[in-house]
Symmetry: C2
Subunit: 320 residues, 2 copies
Protein backbone atom coordinates (compact mmCIF):
# COMPACT_ATOMS: atom_id res chain seq x y z
CA UNK A 1 0.00 0.00 0.00
CA UNK A 2 2.85 2.41 0.61
CA UNK A 3 6.51 3.02 0.10
CA UNK A 4 7.22 5.09 3.23
CA UNK A 5 10.81 6.31 3.46
CA UNK A 6 12.85 5.34 6.50
CA UNK A 7 13.82 8.92 7.09
CA UNK A 8 12.80 12.39 5.96
CA UNK A 9 14.79 15.61 5.66
CA UNK A 10 13.09 18.94 6.26
CA UNK A 11 14.55 22.13 4.85
CA UNK A 12 13.34 24.82 7.24
CA UNK A 13 12.21 27.97 5.37
CA UNK A 14 10.61 29.98 8.19
CA UNK A 15 13.54 32.32 8.96
CA UNK A 16 13.71 33.33 5.29
CA UNK A 17 10.29 32.90 3.73
CA UNK A 18 8.42 33.52 6.99
CA UNK A 19 10.09 36.76 7.95
CA UNK A 20 10.53 37.96 4.38
CA UNK A 21 6.78 38.15 3.81
CA UNK A 22 6.23 40.30 6.89
CA UNK A 23 5.99 44.00 6.32
CA UNK A 24 8.48 44.85 9.02
CA UNK A 25 11.96 44.27 10.32
CA UNK A 26 12.63 41.82 13.13
CA UNK A 27 15.70 42.29 15.34
CA UNK A 28 18.71 40.42 13.97
CA UNK A 29 19.54 38.91 17.37
CA UNK A 30 16.09 37.36 17.64
CA UNK A 31 16.24 35.88 14.14
CA UNK A 32 19.63 34.42 14.96
CA UNK A 33 18.22 32.98 18.21
CA UNK A 34 15.40 31.34 16.25
CA UNK A 35 17.79 29.85 13.69
CA UNK A 36 19.97 28.50 16.49
CA UNK A 37 16.94 27.05 18.31
CA UNK A 38 15.79 25.29 15.12
CA UNK A 39 19.29 23.92 14.60
CA UNK A 40 19.49 22.81 18.24
CA UNK A 41 16.28 20.81 17.70
CA UNK A 42 18.08 18.86 14.97
CA UNK A 43 16.76 20.37 11.73
CA UNK A 44 19.65 19.81 9.37
CA UNK A 45 18.88 22.35 6.63
CA UNK A 46 17.81 25.87 7.46
CA UNK A 47 17.27 28.67 4.97
CA UNK A 48 18.42 31.55 7.13
CA UNK A 49 17.95 34.52 4.81
CA UNK A 50 17.91 35.72 1.21
CA UNK A 51 20.18 37.91 -0.84
CA UNK A 52 17.67 39.95 -2.78
CA UNK A 53 17.18 43.57 -3.73
CA UNK A 54 17.03 45.48 -0.42
CA UNK A 55 14.82 48.10 -2.06
CA UNK A 56 12.20 45.42 -2.79
CA UNK A 57 12.69 43.37 0.37
CA UNK A 58 14.14 45.72 2.98
CA UNK A 59 13.84 43.25 5.84
CA UNK A 60 16.42 40.96 4.25
CA UNK A 61 18.98 43.76 3.78
CA UNK A 62 21.09 42.52 6.71
CA UNK A 63 21.49 38.94 5.50
CA UNK A 64 25.31 38.97 5.47
CA UNK A 65 25.37 40.29 9.02
CA UNK A 66 22.85 37.67 10.07
CA UNK A 67 24.90 34.80 8.67
CA UNK A 68 27.99 36.18 10.39
CA UNK A 69 26.19 36.21 13.73
CA UNK A 70 25.07 32.57 13.71
CA UNK A 71 26.91 30.12 15.95
CA UNK A 72 26.91 27.17 13.61
CA UNK A 73 26.49 23.54 14.55
CA UNK A 74 28.33 20.79 12.73
CA UNK A 75 26.33 18.76 10.22
CA UNK A 76 23.78 21.50 9.63
CA UNK A 77 23.55 23.48 6.39
CA UNK A 78 22.58 27.13 6.72
CA UNK A 79 21.33 28.11 3.26
CA UNK A 80 20.41 31.32 1.50
CA UNK A 81 18.07 32.18 -1.35
CA UNK A 82 19.32 34.16 -4.32
CA UNK A 83 17.18 34.88 -7.37
CA UNK A 84 19.76 36.45 -9.68
CA UNK A 85 23.53 36.51 -10.24
CA UNK A 86 23.93 39.65 -8.13
CA UNK A 87 22.29 37.93 -5.16
CA UNK A 88 24.25 34.74 -5.79
CA UNK A 89 27.51 36.64 -5.66
CA UNK A 90 26.40 38.51 -2.53
CA UNK A 91 25.73 35.13 -0.91
CA UNK A 92 29.14 33.84 -2.03
CA UNK A 93 30.85 36.88 -0.51
CA UNK A 94 28.97 36.57 2.79
CA UNK A 95 30.45 34.56 5.66
CA UNK A 96 29.14 31.19 6.79
CA UNK A 97 26.63 30.59 3.96
CA UNK A 98 26.33 26.89 3.10
CA UNK A 99 25.52 26.84 -0.56
CA UNK A 100 22.66 24.59 -1.49
CA UNK A 101 22.52 25.47 -5.11
CA UNK A 102 18.99 25.85 -6.39
CA UNK A 103 17.49 27.45 -9.46
CA UNK A 104 13.83 28.01 -10.29
CA UNK A 105 11.84 27.13 -13.36
CA UNK A 106 8.15 27.82 -13.86
CA UNK A 107 5.33 25.57 -14.97
CA UNK A 108 3.12 28.66 -15.27
CA UNK A 109 3.99 31.60 -17.44
CA UNK A 110 1.69 34.00 -15.59
CA UNK A 111 3.39 33.38 -12.27
CA UNK A 112 6.83 33.56 -13.89
CA UNK A 113 6.01 37.00 -15.26
CA UNK A 114 4.67 38.14 -11.90
CA UNK A 115 7.39 36.59 -9.72
CA UNK A 116 10.44 36.85 -11.93
CA UNK A 117 9.54 39.38 -14.63
CA UNK A 118 10.35 37.00 -17.48
CA UNK A 119 8.61 34.29 -19.51
CA UNK A 120 9.03 30.67 -18.53
CA UNK A 121 11.08 30.17 -21.71
CA UNK A 122 13.40 32.95 -20.55
CA UNK A 123 13.66 31.25 -17.16
CA UNK A 124 14.82 28.11 -18.99
CA UNK A 125 17.44 30.07 -20.87
CA UNK A 126 18.61 31.49 -17.56
CA UNK A 127 19.03 27.95 -16.21
CA UNK A 128 21.88 27.44 -18.71
CA UNK A 129 23.45 30.72 -17.58
CA UNK A 130 23.07 29.64 -13.95
CA UNK A 131 24.91 26.38 -14.57
CA UNK A 132 27.84 28.40 -15.97
CA UNK A 133 27.82 30.70 -12.96
CA UNK A 134 27.73 27.76 -10.54
CA UNK A 135 30.62 26.13 -12.39
CA UNK A 136 32.61 29.36 -12.39
CA UNK A 137 32.34 29.50 -8.61
CA UNK A 138 32.71 25.76 -8.18
CA UNK A 139 29.41 25.42 -6.33
CA UNK A 140 27.35 22.30 -7.08
CA UNK A 141 23.87 22.98 -8.46
CA UNK A 142 21.83 20.50 -6.44
CA UNK A 143 18.21 21.46 -6.88
CA UNK A 144 15.85 22.75 -9.54
CA UNK A 145 12.49 24.01 -8.35
CA UNK A 146 9.51 23.85 -10.68
CA UNK A 147 7.24 26.61 -9.44
CA UNK A 148 3.44 26.51 -9.76
CA UNK A 149 3.66 22.78 -10.38
CA UNK A 150 0.09 22.22 -9.15
CA UNK A 151 -1.93 25.24 -10.18
CA UNK A 152 -1.73 28.99 -10.58
CA UNK A 153 -4.02 31.78 -9.47
CA UNK A 154 -3.17 33.59 -12.73
CA UNK A 155 -3.52 30.69 -15.14
CA UNK A 156 -5.73 28.13 -13.39
CA UNK A 157 -4.97 24.42 -13.58
CA UNK A 158 -1.39 23.59 -14.51
CA UNK A 159 -1.35 20.35 -16.51
CA UNK A 160 1.07 17.56 -15.59
CA UNK A 161 2.52 17.94 -19.11
CA UNK A 162 3.58 21.51 -18.32
CA UNK A 163 5.38 20.29 -15.22
CA UNK A 164 7.05 17.50 -17.15
CA UNK A 165 8.19 19.94 -19.85
CA UNK A 166 10.31 21.72 -17.24
CA UNK A 167 11.58 18.43 -15.81
CA UNK A 168 12.45 17.19 -19.32
CA UNK A 169 14.29 20.42 -20.08
CA UNK A 170 16.29 20.17 -16.87
CA UNK A 171 17.28 16.54 -17.36
CA UNK A 172 18.23 17.18 -20.98
CA UNK A 173 20.37 20.20 -20.12
CA UNK A 174 22.14 18.48 -17.22
CA UNK A 175 22.80 15.39 -19.33
CA UNK A 176 24.11 17.48 -22.22
CA UNK A 177 26.48 19.16 -19.82
CA UNK A 178 27.53 15.80 -18.36
CA UNK A 179 26.52 16.99 -14.91
CA UNK A 180 24.91 15.03 -12.06
CA UNK A 181 21.15 15.34 -12.15
CA UNK A 182 19.74 17.77 -9.57
CA UNK A 183 16.87 16.99 -7.26
CA UNK A 184 13.61 18.27 -8.73
CA UNK A 185 11.44 20.10 -6.22
CA UNK A 186 7.83 20.53 -7.18
CA UNK A 187 6.65 23.82 -5.72
CA UNK A 188 2.99 24.38 -4.91
CA UNK A 189 3.42 28.13 -4.88
CA UNK A 190 -0.27 28.91 -4.29
CA UNK A 191 -1.63 25.98 -2.33
CA UNK A 192 -3.37 24.02 -5.08
CA UNK A 193 -1.97 20.58 -4.27
CA UNK A 194 -4.11 17.63 -3.27
CA UNK A 195 -3.15 14.02 -2.52
CA UNK A 196 -4.26 13.07 -6.04
CA UNK A 197 -2.41 15.83 -7.84
CA UNK A 198 0.71 14.98 -5.84
CA UNK A 199 0.44 11.31 -6.83
CA UNK A 200 -0.04 12.18 -10.49
CA UNK A 201 2.98 14.49 -10.62
CA UNK A 202 5.34 12.37 -8.54
CA UNK A 203 4.21 9.37 -10.55
CA UNK A 204 4.87 11.09 -13.88
CA UNK A 205 8.38 12.15 -12.83
CA UNK A 206 9.15 8.68 -11.44
CA UNK A 207 7.94 6.97 -14.59
CA UNK A 208 10.03 9.17 -16.88
CA UNK A 209 13.12 9.40 -14.67
CA UNK A 210 13.25 6.69 -12.00
CA UNK A 211 16.73 7.85 -11.02
CA UNK A 212 15.65 11.41 -10.23
CA UNK A 213 15.12 12.45 -6.61
CA UNK A 214 11.94 14.48 -6.07
CA UNK A 215 11.16 16.89 -3.24
CA UNK A 216 8.18 19.06 -2.42
CA UNK A 217 7.73 22.67 -1.45
CA UNK A 218 4.12 22.95 -0.29
CA UNK A 219 2.02 25.82 0.98
CA UNK A 220 -0.92 24.95 3.19
CA UNK A 221 -3.47 27.44 1.86
CA UNK A 222 -6.42 25.08 1.91
CA UNK A 223 -5.97 22.72 4.84
CA UNK A 224 -4.65 19.75 2.88
CA UNK A 225 -1.02 20.05 4.04
CA UNK A 226 -0.75 16.86 6.07
CA UNK A 227 -2.85 14.87 3.57
CA UNK A 228 -0.51 15.98 0.77
CA UNK A 229 2.58 15.07 2.79
CA UNK A 230 1.06 11.67 3.65
CA UNK A 231 0.42 10.97 -0.04
CA UNK A 232 3.99 12.00 -0.88
CA UNK A 233 5.52 9.95 1.94
CA UNK A 234 3.63 6.92 0.68
CA UNK A 235 5.36 7.44 -2.66
CA UNK A 236 8.72 7.51 -0.92
CA UNK A 237 9.33 11.28 -1.05
CA UNK A 238 11.83 12.25 1.64
CA UNK A 239 12.63 15.91 1.04
CA UNK A 240 10.23 18.63 2.13
CA UNK A 241 10.56 22.36 2.55
CA UNK A 242 8.59 23.55 5.55
CA UNK A 243 8.22 26.45 7.89
CA UNK A 244 8.32 26.56 11.67
CA UNK A 245 4.89 27.35 13.11
CA UNK A 246 3.64 27.57 9.52
CA UNK A 247 5.26 31.03 9.27
CA UNK A 248 5.19 32.85 6.00
CA UNK A 249 3.77 32.75 2.57
CA UNK A 250 4.66 34.16 -0.80
CA UNK A 251 3.80 37.81 -1.32
CA UNK A 252 3.66 37.45 -5.08
CA UNK A 253 0.87 34.91 -5.04
CA UNK A 254 -1.67 37.18 -3.37
CA UNK A 255 -4.61 37.62 -5.64
CA UNK A 256 -7.49 39.83 -4.60
CA UNK A 257 -7.20 40.55 -0.90
CA UNK A 258 -6.38 37.07 0.28
CA UNK A 259 -3.15 36.31 2.06
CA UNK A 260 -1.06 33.41 0.85
CA UNK A 261 -0.62 30.85 3.58
CA UNK A 262 2.74 29.75 4.86
CA UNK A 263 4.58 26.56 4.03
CA UNK A 264 3.50 23.32 5.61
CA UNK A 265 4.30 23.54 9.30
CA UNK A 266 7.63 21.91 10.18
CA UNK A 267 6.78 20.63 13.65
CA UNK A 268 3.33 19.33 12.62
CA UNK A 269 4.95 17.38 9.77
CA UNK A 270 7.69 16.10 12.09
CA UNK A 271 4.89 14.86 14.35
CA UNK A 272 3.28 13.16 11.33
CA UNK A 273 6.55 11.45 10.40
CA UNK A 274 7.20 10.25 13.94
CA UNK A 275 3.64 8.87 14.24
CA UNK A 276 4.28 6.94 11.02
CA UNK A 277 7.56 5.57 12.35
CA UNK A 278 9.69 7.70 10.03
CA UNK A 279 12.95 9.04 11.44
CA UNK A 280 13.73 12.77 11.23
CA UNK A 281 16.57 13.15 13.78
CA UNK A 282 14.56 16.07 15.12
CA UNK A 283 13.60 16.53 18.79
CA UNK A 284 9.93 17.48 18.46
CA UNK A 285 9.64 19.05 21.91
CA UNK A 286 12.70 21.22 21.26
CA UNK A 287 11.26 22.21 17.87
CA UNK A 288 7.97 23.18 19.55
CA UNK A 289 9.94 25.48 21.85
CA UNK A 290 11.51 27.04 18.75
CA UNK A 291 8.03 27.48 17.22
CA UNK A 292 6.85 29.26 20.37
CA UNK A 293 9.90 31.52 20.04
CA UNK A 294 8.91 32.26 16.41
CA UNK A 295 5.40 33.12 17.61
CA UNK A 296 6.84 35.43 20.23
CA UNK A 297 9.01 37.16 17.61
CA UNK A 298 6.16 37.82 15.16
CA UNK A 299 3.84 38.71 18.04
CA UNK A 300 0.71 36.97 16.84
CA UNK A 301 -0.61 33.41 16.98
CA UNK A 302 0.93 31.18 14.35
CA UNK A 303 -1.05 28.54 12.48
CA UNK A 304 0.95 25.56 13.80
CA UNK A 305 -1.07 23.02 15.75
CA UNK A 306 1.19 20.74 17.75
CA UNK A 307 3.05 23.81 19.03
CA UNK A 308 -0.14 24.79 20.85
CA UNK A 309 -1.37 21.35 21.96
CA UNK A 310 2.05 19.94 22.83
CA UNK A 311 3.61 16.71 21.69
CA UNK A 312 2.28 13.39 22.91
CA UNK A 313 5.58 12.45 24.57
CA UNK A 314 4.62 13.78 27.96
CA UNK A 315 1.30 11.91 27.98
CA UNK A 316 2.69 8.64 26.76
CA UNK A 317 4.78 8.22 29.89
CA UNK A 318 1.86 8.67 32.25
CA UNK A 319 0.11 5.34 32.28
CA UNK A 320 -2.52 3.68 30.14
CA UNK B 1 -4.58 1.23 -3.17
CA UNK B 2 -7.73 2.75 -1.79
CA UNK B 3 -11.41 2.22 -1.26
CA UNK B 4 -12.59 5.82 -1.54
CA UNK B 5 -16.31 6.24 -0.97
CA UNK B 6 -18.42 7.83 -3.70
CA UNK B 7 -19.89 10.28 -1.27
CA UNK B 8 -19.27 11.56 2.24
CA UNK B 9 -21.64 12.95 4.86
CA UNK B 10 -20.45 15.63 7.25
CA UNK B 11 -22.23 16.20 10.54
CA UNK B 12 -21.54 19.83 11.34
CA UNK B 13 -20.74 20.35 15.03
CA UNK B 14 -19.61 24.00 15.08
CA UNK B 15 -22.87 25.59 16.27
CA UNK B 16 -22.94 23.24 19.28
CA UNK B 17 -19.37 22.21 20.11
CA UNK B 18 -17.82 25.41 18.76
CA UNK B 19 -19.98 27.86 20.66
CA UNK B 20 -20.33 25.65 23.73
CA UNK B 21 -16.60 25.82 24.48
CA UNK B 22 -16.57 29.61 24.38
CA UNK B 23 -16.80 31.37 27.70
CA UNK B 24 -19.54 33.71 26.58
CA UNK B 25 -22.98 33.92 25.11
CA UNK B 26 -23.50 34.64 21.42
CA UNK B 27 -26.75 36.25 20.25
CA UNK B 28 -29.37 33.67 19.37
CA UNK B 29 -30.23 35.38 16.08
CA UNK B 30 -26.62 35.15 14.92
CA UNK B 31 -26.34 31.48 15.82
CA UNK B 32 -29.55 30.81 13.94
CA UNK B 33 -28.19 32.74 10.94
CA UNK B 34 -25.04 30.59 11.00
CA UNK B 35 -27.04 27.35 11.18
CA UNK B 36 -29.20 28.50 8.28
CA UNK B 37 -26.13 29.49 6.24
CA UNK B 38 -24.55 26.07 6.82
CA UNK B 39 -27.81 24.38 5.81
CA UNK B 40 -28.09 26.59 2.72
CA UNK B 41 -24.61 25.41 1.67
CA UNK B 42 -25.94 21.85 1.64
CA UNK B 43 -24.62 20.35 4.88
CA UNK B 44 -27.25 17.73 5.64
CA UNK B 45 -26.65 17.18 9.36
CA UNK B 46 -26.13 20.04 11.75
CA UNK B 47 -25.79 19.77 15.51
CA UNK B 48 -27.46 23.03 16.42
CA UNK B 49 -27.24 22.98 20.22
CA UNK B 50 -27.11 20.83 23.34
CA UNK B 51 -29.52 20.18 26.16
CA UNK B 52 -27.19 20.16 29.12
CA UNK B 53 -27.15 21.60 32.63
CA UNK B 54 -27.46 25.40 32.17
CA UNK B 55 -25.52 25.92 35.39
CA UNK B 56 -22.53 24.12 33.88
CA UNK B 57 -22.96 25.35 30.31
CA UNK B 58 -24.87 28.64 30.51
CA UNK B 59 -24.40 29.50 26.84
CA UNK B 60 -26.55 26.53 25.80
CA UNK B 61 -29.43 27.47 28.12
CA UNK B 62 -31.53 28.80 25.24
CA UNK B 63 -31.38 25.66 23.07
CA UNK B 64 -35.16 25.14 22.86
CA UNK B 65 -35.62 28.74 21.78
CA UNK B 66 -32.84 28.39 19.23
CA UNK B 67 -34.40 25.31 17.65
CA UNK B 68 -37.77 27.09 17.52
CA UNK B 69 -36.21 30.01 15.66
CA UNK B 70 -34.61 27.99 12.84
CA UNK B 71 -36.25 28.10 9.42
CA UNK B 72 -35.69 24.50 8.47
CA UNK B 73 -34.84 23.17 5.03
CA UNK B 74 -36.19 19.86 3.81
CA UNK B 75 -33.78 16.92 3.85
CA UNK B 76 -31.58 18.39 6.56
CA UNK B 77 -31.40 17.01 10.09
CA UNK B 78 -30.95 19.55 12.87
CA UNK B 79 -29.62 17.53 15.79
CA UNK B 80 -29.02 18.14 19.48
CA UNK B 81 -26.63 16.69 22.03
CA UNK B 82 -27.93 15.33 25.32
CA UNK B 83 -25.73 13.61 27.87
CA UNK B 84 -28.33 12.34 30.34
CA UNK B 85 -32.04 11.42 30.45
CA UNK B 86 -33.00 14.89 31.66
CA UNK B 87 -31.32 16.47 28.62
CA UNK B 88 -32.82 13.84 26.32
CA UNK B 89 -36.30 14.63 27.53
CA UNK B 90 -35.67 18.36 27.21
CA UNK B 91 -34.64 17.76 23.61
CA UNK B 92 -37.77 15.66 22.99
CA UNK B 93 -39.96 18.41 24.39
CA UNK B 94 -38.27 21.12 22.30
CA UNK B 95 -39.66 22.06 18.88
CA UNK B 96 -38.00 21.12 15.61
CA UNK B 97 -35.25 18.85 16.99
CA UNK B 98 -34.39 16.03 14.59
CA UNK B 99 -33.33 13.17 16.79
CA UNK B 100 -30.16 11.50 15.74
CA UNK B 101 -29.90 9.14 18.65
CA UNK B 102 -26.38 8.82 19.96
CA UNK B 103 -24.90 7.51 23.18
CA UNK B 104 -21.31 7.66 24.38
CA UNK B 105 -19.01 4.95 25.65
CA UNK B 106 -15.42 5.45 26.74
CA UNK B 107 -12.25 3.62 25.80
CA UNK B 108 -10.44 5.51 28.59
CA UNK B 109 -11.56 5.38 32.18
CA UNK B 110 -9.74 8.56 33.15
CA UNK B 111 -11.55 10.63 30.55
CA UNK B 112 -14.88 9.00 31.43
CA UNK B 113 -14.44 10.03 35.06
CA UNK B 114 -13.49 13.57 34.03
CA UNK B 115 -16.12 14.03 31.32
CA UNK B 116 -19.03 12.01 32.63
CA UNK B 117 -18.29 11.48 36.33
CA UNK B 118 -18.58 7.69 36.09
CA UNK B 119 -16.37 4.71 35.26
CA UNK B 120 -16.36 3.31 31.76
CA UNK B 121 -18.11 0.20 33.12
CA UNK B 122 -20.86 2.45 34.49
CA UNK B 123 -21.10 4.11 31.08
CA UNK B 124 -21.70 0.67 29.59
CA UNK B 125 -24.46 -0.02 32.12
CA UNK B 126 -26.01 3.30 31.16
CA UNK B 127 -26.04 2.23 27.51
CA UNK B 128 -28.62 -0.44 28.41
CA UNK B 129 -30.70 2.18 30.23
CA UNK B 130 -30.41 4.49 27.23
CA UNK B 131 -31.77 1.83 24.87
CA UNK B 132 -34.84 1.51 27.11
CA UNK B 133 -35.32 5.26 27.16
CA UNK B 134 -35.00 5.49 23.37
CA UNK B 135 -37.52 2.66 22.98
CA UNK B 136 -39.93 4.30 25.40
CA UNK B 137 -39.92 7.43 23.27
CA UNK B 138 -39.83 5.51 20.01
CA UNK B 139 -36.63 7.21 18.85
CA UNK B 140 -34.13 5.07 16.96
CA UNK B 141 -30.69 4.82 18.57
CA UNK B 142 -28.48 5.26 15.52
CA UNK B 143 -24.97 5.95 16.80
CA UNK B 144 -22.66 4.89 19.59
CA UNK B 145 -19.58 7.03 20.11
CA UNK B 146 -16.45 5.48 21.58
CA UNK B 147 -14.64 8.39 23.18
CA UNK B 148 -10.85 8.58 23.56
CA UNK B 149 -10.54 5.86 20.94
CA UNK B 150 -7.01 6.99 20.01
CA UNK B 151 -5.34 8.21 23.17
CA UNK B 152 -6.01 10.06 26.37
CA UNK B 153 -4.20 12.92 28.10
CA UNK B 154 -5.07 11.27 31.43
CA UNK B 155 -4.16 7.69 30.59
CA UNK B 156 -1.75 7.86 27.67
CA UNK B 157 -1.99 5.42 24.77
CA UNK B 158 -5.37 3.72 24.41
CA UNK B 159 -4.85 0.21 23.02
CA UNK B 160 -6.94 -1.01 20.09
CA UNK B 161 -8.19 -3.79 22.40
CA UNK B 162 -9.77 -1.20 24.71
CA UNK B 163 -11.59 0.33 21.74
CA UNK B 164 -12.73 -3.09 20.57
CA UNK B 165 -14.00 -3.96 24.07
CA UNK B 166 -16.52 -1.10 23.76
CA UNK B 167 -17.42 -2.07 20.20
CA UNK B 168 -17.89 -5.71 21.26
CA UNK B 169 -20.09 -4.66 24.16
CA UNK B 170 -22.25 -2.51 21.89
CA UNK B 171 -22.71 -5.16 19.23
CA UNK B 172 -23.50 -7.82 21.85
CA UNK B 173 -26.08 -5.63 23.60
CA UNK B 174 -27.79 -4.58 20.36
CA UNK B 175 -27.88 -8.16 19.12
CA UNK B 176 -29.27 -9.42 22.43
CA UNK B 177 -31.99 -6.82 22.16
CA UNK B 178 -32.68 -7.77 18.53
CA UNK B 179 -32.05 -4.20 17.49
CA UNK B 180 -30.41 -2.84 14.32
CA UNK B 181 -26.72 -2.23 14.88
CA UNK B 182 -25.82 1.44 15.36
CA UNK B 183 -23.03 3.19 13.55
CA UNK B 184 -19.88 3.21 15.67
CA UNK B 185 -18.15 6.58 15.79
CA UNK B 186 -14.57 6.55 16.96
CA UNK B 187 -13.93 9.80 18.79
CA UNK B 188 -10.44 11.26 18.97
CA UNK B 189 -11.37 13.43 21.93
CA UNK B 190 -7.87 14.86 22.46
CA UNK B 191 -6.26 14.88 19.04
CA UNK B 192 -4.10 11.76 19.23
CA UNK B 193 -5.08 10.19 15.91
CA UNK B 194 -2.63 9.54 13.09
CA UNK B 195 -3.15 7.88 9.70
CA UNK B 196 -1.69 4.66 11.13
CA UNK B 197 -3.77 4.61 14.30
CA UNK B 198 -6.86 5.28 12.19
CA UNK B 199 -6.06 2.38 9.89
CA UNK B 200 -5.46 0.02 12.81
CA UNK B 201 -8.73 0.88 14.54
CA UNK B 202 -10.93 0.98 11.43
CA UNK B 203 -9.26 -2.25 10.32
CA UNK B 204 -9.94 -3.97 13.66
CA UNK B 205 -13.63 -2.97 13.63
CA UNK B 206 -14.01 -4.01 9.97
CA UNK B 207 -12.38 -7.36 10.57
CA UNK B 208 -14.57 -8.18 13.56
CA UNK B 209 -17.82 -6.69 12.20
CA UNK B 210 -17.77 -6.15 8.42
CA UNK B 211 -21.44 -5.17 8.55
CA UNK B 212 -20.87 -2.29 10.98
CA UNK B 213 -20.74 1.27 9.68
CA UNK B 214 -17.91 3.31 11.19
CA UNK B 215 -17.65 7.08 11.46
CA UNK B 216 -15.03 9.43 12.89
CA UNK B 217 -15.14 12.40 15.23
CA UNK B 218 -11.68 13.96 14.99
CA UNK B 219 -10.06 16.95 16.67
CA UNK B 220 -7.17 18.58 14.85
CA UNK B 221 -4.89 19.32 17.79
CA UNK B 222 -1.66 18.37 16.08
CA UNK B 223 -2.01 19.26 12.40
CA UNK B 224 -2.79 15.77 11.13
CA UNK B 225 -6.49 16.38 10.42
CA UNK B 226 -6.47 16.08 6.65
CA UNK B 227 -3.96 13.20 6.72
CA UNK B 228 -6.25 11.31 9.11
CA UNK B 229 -9.30 11.98 6.96
CA UNK B 230 -7.41 10.86 3.85
CA UNK B 231 -6.44 7.59 5.56
CA UNK B 232 -10.05 7.05 6.65
CA UNK B 233 -11.48 7.89 3.20
CA UNK B 234 -9.12 5.35 1.68
CA UNK B 235 -10.68 2.77 3.97
CA UNK B 236 -14.13 3.75 2.77
CA UNK B 237 -15.22 5.79 5.79
CA UNK B 238 -18.00 8.17 4.78
CA UNK B 239 -19.23 9.74 8.02
CA UNK B 240 -17.29 12.53 9.68
CA UNK B 241 -18.15 15.02 12.39
CA UNK B 242 -16.57 18.37 11.66
CA UNK B 243 -16.75 21.99 12.60
CA UNK B 244 -17.10 25.06 10.41
CA UNK B 245 -13.91 27.12 10.40
CA UNK B 246 -12.47 24.56 12.84
CA UNK B 247 -14.52 26.19 15.61
CA UNK B 248 -14.45 24.67 19.03
CA UNK B 249 -12.79 22.04 21.11
CA UNK B 250 -13.65 20.07 24.20
CA UNK B 251 -13.27 21.96 27.46
CA UNK B 252 -12.88 18.78 29.49
CA UNK B 253 -9.79 17.62 27.67
CA UNK B 254 -7.67 20.61 28.60
CA UNK B 255 -4.67 19.44 30.53
CA UNK B 256 -2.20 21.97 31.86
CA UNK B 257 -2.81 25.30 30.17
CA UNK B 258 -3.21 24.08 26.62
CA UNK B 259 -6.40 24.63 24.74
CA UNK B 260 -7.99 21.68 23.00
CA UNK B 261 -8.28 22.30 19.30
CA UNK B 262 -11.55 22.24 17.44
CA UNK B 263 -12.89 19.48 15.25
CA UNK B 264 -11.50 18.96 11.80
CA UNK B 265 -12.57 21.93 9.70
CA UNK B 266 -15.70 21.23 7.64
CA UNK B 267 -14.92 23.34 4.60
CA UNK B 268 -11.27 22.22 4.42
CA UNK B 269 -12.42 18.58 4.46
CA UNK B 270 -15.12 19.32 1.86
CA UNK B 271 -12.33 20.77 -0.30
CA UNK B 272 -10.31 17.57 0.27
CA UNK B 273 -13.25 15.38 -0.75
CA UNK B 274 -13.96 17.41 -3.88
CA UNK B 275 -10.30 17.32 -4.90
CA UNK B 276 -10.45 13.53 -4.55
CA UNK B 277 -13.60 13.34 -6.67
CA UNK B 278 -15.84 12.45 -3.72
CA UNK B 279 -19.33 13.93 -3.72
CA UNK B 280 -20.58 15.86 -0.68
CA UNK B 281 -23.60 17.73 -2.10
CA UNK B 282 -22.10 20.80 -0.45
CA UNK B 283 -21.45 24.12 -2.21
CA UNK B 284 -17.93 24.91 -1.01
CA UNK B 285 -18.09 28.61 -1.82
CA UNK B 286 -21.36 28.97 0.10
CA UNK B 287 -19.83 27.05 3.02
CA UNK B 288 -16.82 29.40 3.00
CA UNK B 289 -19.24 32.31 3.32
CA UNK B 290 -20.78 30.55 6.34
CA UNK B 291 -17.29 30.06 7.84
CA UNK B 292 -16.59 33.78 7.43
CA UNK B 293 -19.88 34.44 9.24
CA UNK B 294 -18.76 32.11 12.07
CA UNK B 295 -15.49 34.04 12.28
CA UNK B 296 -17.39 37.30 12.45
CA UNK B 297 -19.59 35.94 15.25
CA UNK B 298 -16.70 34.75 17.45
CA UNK B 299 -14.73 37.88 16.60
CA UNK B 300 -11.31 36.33 16.12
CA UNK B 301 -9.53 34.51 13.31
CA UNK B 302 -10.58 30.89 12.98
CA UNK B 303 -8.14 28.11 12.14
CA UNK B 304 -9.83 27.14 8.85
CA UNK B 305 -7.61 27.47 5.79
CA UNK B 306 -9.67 27.42 2.60
CA UNK B 307 -12.02 30.02 4.15
CA UNK B 308 -9.09 32.46 4.06
CA UNK B 309 -7.51 31.47 0.75
CA UNK B 310 -10.75 30.90 -1.12
CA UNK B 311 -11.79 27.86 -3.12
CA UNK B 312 -10.12 27.06 -6.42
CA UNK B 313 -13.37 27.40 -8.38
CA UNK B 314 -12.80 31.02 -9.29
CA UNK B 315 -9.29 30.36 -10.57
CA UNK B 316 -10.13 27.28 -12.54
CA UNK B 317 -12.30 29.25 -14.90
CA UNK B 318 -9.61 31.74 -15.77
CA UNK B 319 -7.46 29.99 -18.32
CA UNK B 320 -4.50 27.64 -18.18
Amino acid sequence: MSDLPESVIFHEHGPREGFQIENRQFPLARRVALIEAIAAAGVSRIQAASFVNPKVVPNMADSAELFAAITKRPGIRYTALALNPWGFEQALAAPQVDHLGSVVLYASNGFCLSNNNCTKQEARARLAQWTELYDKHNVPLEQVYVLCAFGCNFEGEVPVADVMAEVDHTVELFRQQGRALPRIDLDDSMGWASPDSIRRRIGAVREAYPELEVGLHLHDNRGLGSACVLAALEMGVRHFDSSIGGLGGCPFSIVKDRAAAGNICTEDMVHLCHELGIETDIDLDALIEAALLAEDIVGRPLMGRVMHSGSLAEYRGTGG
